[in-house]
Structure formats: structure tokens, C-alpha cells
């Protein structure tokens, strides 16, 4: 019997949550230092209850200062990008849209590069990426607001134009960058990676994500109605300008935080919503929950591959596309119907 994509939503979500939890704990075992599961459990539990310390202090540092932030970031960043992608695809009624459609990544990339050629600290680079990422989206939104009567086509166009503007600026910065230090850093940053993430980055990402996800959760039925188009949603009683602002605002906040910590990670935001849609159907209120967990699990698995491969640290943004492409092709061959 074929299970329909819109059935058994509760069970599917429970399975996804369990999978994510298992992956979360399992990921502590991956890495250069082999750490037995018992020790990992002991180290984590010792933070909550009193347990006699039987392990080396180095292991505690590896687990809590290196692996924990990286694993947490994998789930949060993957989830953030996927939820943003799912939201934009529903809002823009376009399956080819990704979270950086309004220029977040291009702006953040330029901001990070600009900071890097000035020998900035890691924290300054993050801040600069954050600010320019926000500026890019704000510019796109303002252009659409002032000249396009807020129509969605103009908003996407404005995003693409702003993206290409910041990409040109980024190219200029790259041309000027010192080829010994700055240029390689810029190049690696643009390929993304969770390796530089620390616990304080997680603490920075958490409140932004909590706020964004809360807003999206509260308005999920209204966003779902927008899939029928702005005019029809209006006649169904949806405050379209408000909901549009909530989608763009929340998605931008999550994406810009993720990008400024991890660099540019492609594909997740576009591919994962499609995988989620195969599981839950098109209904946004279901899609968005599934997207979060699938995206988190997907990015975590990819990062585990990176951590598991000895000798070389492959860039995350590259590996997501490497895995993402076959998945996307598979998807196109499976889901021929339903799109038009």
C-alpha cells in the first residue's frame, strides 16, 4: 500500500525528531579523537548531574568545546536554511527559489570579504557579514516597495539585481585582496564550513532562530494560504503585507545569522524543502516542520562526512551541492506530476 504524502503527519514528525536526536548523539563519536560512547554520555550528563570524572580533561574539551557547537550548528543552520527555503518557495510560488534569493548570501559574502582584507578578527568578520547581508535584503525590499508596488515578481527581480551588485563588489574585493592570506580565507569562507563555530556562536544563533521560528509557526496557516496567490489569500482574510513581511523578516534573520557564522552553504535551502514535500505534501504548516528536521539532519550528516574523512577538511558548501545534485535529479525523476 502506498502511503499518501499528506497522511500520518504526526508519526512522520516523530520519526524525524527521533532520527535527529540519534544523529545528534551519534555525531559525538565521529572525529579524529576516538571517544567511546560511554564517555560521551558521561561527559554530557556530568553537566547536569554529579558524576565522578573518569575521563581525561582533553576529551571533555573535545566533546563540549569542539564537537558540541559544531553538531548544534549543523542542525540549527541546516534547519534555518531549509525553513527559509520552504517559506520563500511557498511565498513566491516558485520551486526554484532558495533562501539567498533576496541577496542575503551575496551581501554577507561581500561583508565578510571586506572585513578579511582589513585583517579583521573572526568576530568582526561575522559582524560585517551580518550587517551587509541584512543591508542587501533591505535594499531589495525597499526597491520592490518603492518601485514595484510590492509585487512579488519585482521583489524577486530586485533580489537578483542586488545579489549581482554585491557579487560584483565581492569580485572587486577579491581582485584587491592579498593573494597570500586574504584571498584564500575569502575563498574558503565562500565555500562554507562549520569548523570555526564555537559555543558562543550557537548562543548567538539560538535566540534569532527561536524568534524567527516562533513567528513562522504562529503564521503558518496564513503563509499556507499565500500559496494560492496574494489576491486569493487577501479575499480569504489574510493580512498579506504583514505575513509577507514576517516571512521575509524571519527568513532573512535566520539566514543571515547562519551565513555569517558558517559562510555560504548552497543547495540545502532549495533541495530540502522538496524532499520534505515528498514526505508531507505541499501544505506549508506540515512542510515547514519536516523541512527543519530534514535540513538539520542532512547538514549534520554532511558535516559528519567531512569530520570523518581523514587528512583534508572538505568545504561544507561544496559537499552539500555534491550530495544535493543527485538528490535533486532523483527528485525530478520521482515528482513529475503536481508542478506546472
Amino acid at each position: 500500500m502506498r502511503i499518501r504524502s499528506s497522511q500520518y503527519f504526526g508519526a512522520k514528525i516523530i520519526i524525524l525528531v527521533c532520527l535527529t536526536v540519534v544523529l545528534f548523539f551519534g555525531s559525538f563519536l565521529v572525529g579524529r579523537y576516538p571517544i567511546p560512547p560511554k564517555t560521551v554520555v558521561g561527559i554530557i550528563l556530568s553537566k547536569f548531574i554529579h558524576i565522578p570524572q573518569t575521563w581525561d580533561a582533553t576529551l571533555e574539551t573535545v566533546v563540549l568545546q569542539v564537537r558540541l557547537p559544531r553538531i548544534a550548528l549543523g542542525i540549527l543552520v541546516g534547519g534555518a536554511l531549509s525553513v527559509s527555503g520552504a517559506s520563500y518557495q511557498t511565498l513566491f510560488k516558485n520551486p526554484m527559489v532558495s533562501p539567498d534569493i533576496l541577496g542575503v548570501s551575496a551581501g554577507a559574502g561581500f561583508g565578510a570579504a571586506l572585513a578579511m582584507i582589513h585583517n579583521a578578527t573572526w568576530w568582526e568578520i561575522q559582524t560585517s557579514a551580518f550587517i551587509f547581508g541584512l543591508m542587501a535584503v533591505l535594499a531589495a525590499y525597499l526597491i520592490a516597495y518603492v518601485f514595484g508596488k510590492q509585487t512579488i515578481t519585482v521583489l524577486i527581480l530586485a533580489g537578483i539585481v542586488v545579489s549581482s551588485l554585491f557579487q560584483s563588489l565581492l569580485s572587486i574585493v577579491k581582485t584587491l585582496a592579498d593573494t597570500e592570506n586574504a584571498l584564500p580565507s575569502i575563498t574558503f569562507w565562500l565555500m562554507g564550513g562549520l569548523g570555526k563555530g564555537a559555543n558562543k556562536d550557537v548562543l548567538f544563533l539560538l535566540p534569532a532562530m527561536f524568534l524567527s521560528l516562533l513567528l513562522i509557526f504562529l503564521y503558518r496557516n496564513q503563509i499556507n494560504a499565500l500559496a494560492a496567490g496574494e489576491d486569493e489569500a487577501t479575499t480569504m482574510g489574510v493580512n498579506v503585507p504583514l505575513v509577507k513581511m514576517i516571512v521575509v523578516g524571519s527568513s532573512t534573520l535566520m539566514t543571515v545569522c547562519a551565513v555569517s557564522i558558517c559562510g555560504i552553504i548552497g543547495w540545502v535551502g532549495m533541495v530540502v524543502p522538496h524532499i520534505a514535500r515528498m514526505l508531507t505534501g505541499a501544505n506549508y504548516s506540515k512542510l515547514v516542520a519536516a523541512s527543519f528536521f530534514i535540513g538539520g539532519a542532512f547538514l549534520l550528516v554532511i558535516d559528519n562526512i567531512i569530520r570523518g574523512v581523514e587528512g583534508v577538511e572538505l568545504p561544507l558548501g561544496v559537499l552539500t551541492a555534491l550530495v544535493g545534485t543527485p538528490v535533486f535529479v532523483l527528485l525530478l525523476s520521482r515528482v513529475k506530476k503536481g508542478w506546472s
Partner: protein, 262 residues
Amino acid sequence: MLEVRDVSFYYRPDRPILRDISLELRSGDILCLLGPNGTGKTTLLRCILSLNKIKGGSIALEGQELSKVSAKKRAEMMAYVPQASSVTFPYEAGEIVLMGRVAHLALGSRPTEKDRRRAEEAMDKLEISHLSRYQFNEMSGGEKQMVLVARAVAQQARILIMDEPTANLDYCNQVKMLKVIKVLAEQGYAILMTSHFPDHAFLACSKAVLMRDGVIMAQGMPEEVVTTENLTALYSTPVCVAEAKLDSKDTVTKVCIPVMNN
């Protein structure tokens, strides 16, 4: 229920689209809006639905000025049935109908058992319950149109604004749709529909409004308004309104036929 008084609309002041449009819609009415392409029928619907802001006159819903009613309240009084199109993503028909409940949901809460029941009742009413799990995009034009009517019924508004509900449908589906519209009107809905088939005014409607170049040429009972002279002027091509004998018992209906003289 719906009162449109001296409404005017333009995108540029020197090119008016609607001028001094007045009409009234009461419970049980089926008002058929006829007119050639590009005459402002859809614009008038958009003004009534508050998708376009009127430049003059007033529109009142249940006695309340339309511009002073929130989108949510408006949706509880008036629903829109667009022309069947497609959605980008693979929604099921039942999910589309359930969308009509969005105005009734409290912020952040999911559709309750009551909402689901209302959506099911709406589909039962239109006899499309068996299509609930079908993909909307894979449905025929007639089925899609029924789903969109069901969504409007699930919205529980008493006024239905329908944009060419019979466009692109074959005879069987046209008749089905007109029957549905009649049944809804008998249950107290007020229906405003546009059409390119003047015959439908005779088949189903209680009022006809002829509109040309943004003004109302004539309005009233279909028998009085939909005449050879009026239609010929309306469409600027000869149209003949004739009587047709339907069966041996001499049941007569009026039909409209465009005449081609070379």
C-alpha cells in the same frame, strides 16, 4: 447585503475604468454581470473585494463601509471564487478547501475538528467529497472550479463573488455549476458572477447587469434587460434573443445567438 453606490475607479485620472457603478445584491440573488472583454467587469469585482481601492463612491457590506472592515471580517462576510488556475505545489483538493478556513483560525492554532468538518460539509454540498485526496493540479477544469467554490463555501461567507464560474467548461459542467449556484442562492447566499454567456442570465440568474466601457448600460430582471437590442449594443455585433421550444409540452426558454451576416 452588498451595496455598491456610484463607484468609480481609474489607474490614471484621464482614463476612467469604472464610472458611477451602482448595484445591489440581496440574500438569494444571483446577479449576472455581462459585458464585452476589457470593459471593467473584473476591475469591478476587484474593487468589491477590496483588491483595488475605489476612487469614488462607496461599497457597503451588511451596512458597514467596506474600507472600514478588516480583511478578516471581510472574509467572513464575502468570499471570492477565482477562475480555476493551478497552484505551484502539489496540494490536494481537501487541503485547498481547508485553506478557506484560515480567516476563522485563531493566531497560531491549527484547524480544529470543527474546521475540518466545515470543509467536508462544503465538499459534500458540491458532491466532490470523493475528490478530496486528489491532486488539485491534476483535476479537470470543472472539478477545479467546484473545489474553489467549496473553498468559498467553507469560508462561511454569505456573499460569493465569482469570476466567470462557467468559463472553459463544457455544457455538462456549465449546467452543473449553474445548478450549484442556484442551490446556494436558495440557501440564502448572495451571488455575483460575471459571464460571457448571456444565456446563463436566463438559465440561472435573478438579475442581469449589462456593462460597457465602465458604465452600466442596463440592469434589471433578465427577461427585461437581456434583449436583442441591448445585447447588440453591448457587444457591438448583432445578437439575436430568440425563444426556443424545449419539449413537446411547449416549455419555452430564451436563447441568445450571435448572428453572422457577410
